[in-house]
């Protein structure tokens, strides 16, 4: 187990704990709980094994679901976003996921933001669709998706810049 892998699993555990103990109890404006654990999807290196990534994402979602007593919405949303990540990378950066270029080294701020926004938006849309699971709640799903996405985006951007600084130092 090399240093990178160790760091990855530490991040995994840390994110689960942070999400369950801190962010799930935040209730900004009464209903917004930013999903910071998505940082794992961002930080997993593009050139690493995709199969392992899907499996790890499933475990991540499952752990969050398990510890926050929710049905399975986190699992499904996280699993799907992990499966779709190559497509999102392609549409955000205009490169294939096989080309070794990690998010942290990419300097184009617009591409980074697009990647984060797409990832978080799709994840939240799936998550709230499953939570409400009802056609009649369509506007409620959209509202929750948009507002929560904004806060998740801000927090994940903060965390990733922090992570970059830690890595550089």
């Amino acid at each position: 187990m090399n240093r990178d892998t160790l760091a990855l699993y530490s991040i995994f555990l840390l994110l689960v704990l942070l999400q369950v103990m801190l962010f799930n109890n935040l209730y900004l404006f009464g209903f917004i709980n930013p999903m910071v654990y998505l940082f794992f999807i961002v930080v997993y290196r593009f050139e690493n094994d995709q199969t392992l990534f899907i499996l790890l994402s499933f475990l991540l979602g499952f752990a969050i679901d398990f510890l926050s007593q929710s049905g399975g919405a986190h699992t499904i949303a996280t699993l799907t976003i992990a499966f779709l990540r190559p497509i999102i990378i392609r549409s955000a950066f205009g490169v294939t996921s096989e080309i070794p270029s990690s998010f942290q080294n990419d300097s184009r701020i617009l591409s980074k933001t697009a990647f984060l926004a797409l990832l978080i938006g799709v994840h939240h849309l799936i998550y709230y669709s499953i939570v409400f699971f009802n056609w009649n709640a369509f506007y409620l799903i959209l509202k929750n998706t948009l507002l929560t996405s904004v806060f998740s985006l801000i927090l994940i951007a903060l965390v990733s810049s922090l992570y970059k600084k830690l890595n550089d130092s």
Binding site: Q50, T51, I54, L55, F58, G61, F62, D65, G71, G72, A73, T75, I76, L79, T80, A82, F83, I130, F133, N134
Partner: protein, 273 residues
């Protein structure tokens, strides 16, 4: 084998994704009552739609069978209706038990002529189905004719669109008898003769079968009086009538069998001519 394995390796990510997705859906179903009931609703909706489509399709192919069943049911009801026709005309008849010696069989018309002066029909039931000569043929709204000849599977019927055929009729509101026959032109225009003038009648009165023949039971509604003429010299009305049923457009008919026709015929023969 190698190719299957290669394909599995190549598509390992989608396969893994869908397997895990299925697992998490199972978890969702088991852990949350709300999702369980919602999933149940959706599956019910889909299965109902599917069932509805297949039901409609299979229904279509069963139409013929259902049609035959309905025809059989109608046949049974027709028998009851014929029985009750007579009861309504004689309210006291309920007190005494009357015999009703008529039986009904359903049949289809396979040929029907109506352009000649002597018209005939052919129906798809014959001797094998218990059809005999001189049985009456009716529809749900009137009478059609009398069986003339019978083969094994078919029977020919003298249509009432035949000027040789005279039907014993009466008024529904009073028991004045007359004879119904075709005028020979329009298939629903008939005339009734021999109704005595002291019987009061009006336009629109209903004519029913008279029950004085061994062919038709009493009380089958036939048509309405459209016009009538007093014939002072003979003392009878000449009545124009319009049938309820157009005999040129029938497809389903009922053949009525009088179970006691032989008894009646024996007595008839003994009458002085």
């Amino acid at each position: 084998m190698q190719r299957i394995f290669n394909a599995l390796v190549q598509f390992r990510n989608p396969i893994l994704y869908f397997v895990l997705l299925g697992t998490s859906l199972l978890f969702l179903n088991n852990r949350s009552n709300f999702h369980q009931s919602q999933l149940h609703n959706y599956s019910l909706y889909f299965s109902q739609s599917l069932y509805g489509v297949s039901h409609r399709i299979s229904n279509y192919f069963q139409l013929k069978k259902i049609n035959d069943q309905l025809l059989q049911e109608n046949r049974a009801l027709k028998e009851l209706e014929l029985k009750s026709n007579g009861i309504a005309l004689y309210p006291t008849a309920l007190k005494t038990k009357r015999r009703f010696p008529f039986q009904v069989k359903a049949a289809h018309v396979i040929k029907n002529s109506f352009l000649n002066q002597q018209n005939y029909l052919i129906i798809d039931k014959g001797a094998k189905d218990g059809i005999e000569e001189e049985m009456a043929v009716i529809t749900d709204r009137g009478i059609i004719g009398i069986v003339k000849t019978v083969s094994e599977h078919y029977a020919s019927v003298i249509s009432i669109l035949n000027q040789d055929l005279k039907i014993n009729v009466r008024l529904k509101k009073n028991p004045a008898f007359g004879t119904l026959s075709w005028k020979g032109k329009n298939p629903i225009d008939f005339q009734v003769e021999d109704i005595v003038m002291n019987a009061g009648l009006e336009k629109g009165d209903t004519l029913i079968t008279g029950g004085m023949s061994s062919y038709f039971p009493l009380g089958i509604p036939l048509g309405k009086i459209t016009d009538f003429e007093r014939n002072i010299q003979s003392g009878y009305y000449t009545i124009s009538t319009e049938l309820f049923e157009d005999p040129s457009q029938v497809y389903y008919v009922y053949v009525i069998e009088n179970l006691e026709v032989k008894e009646i015929n024996v007595l008839n023969k003994e009458l002085p001519k």
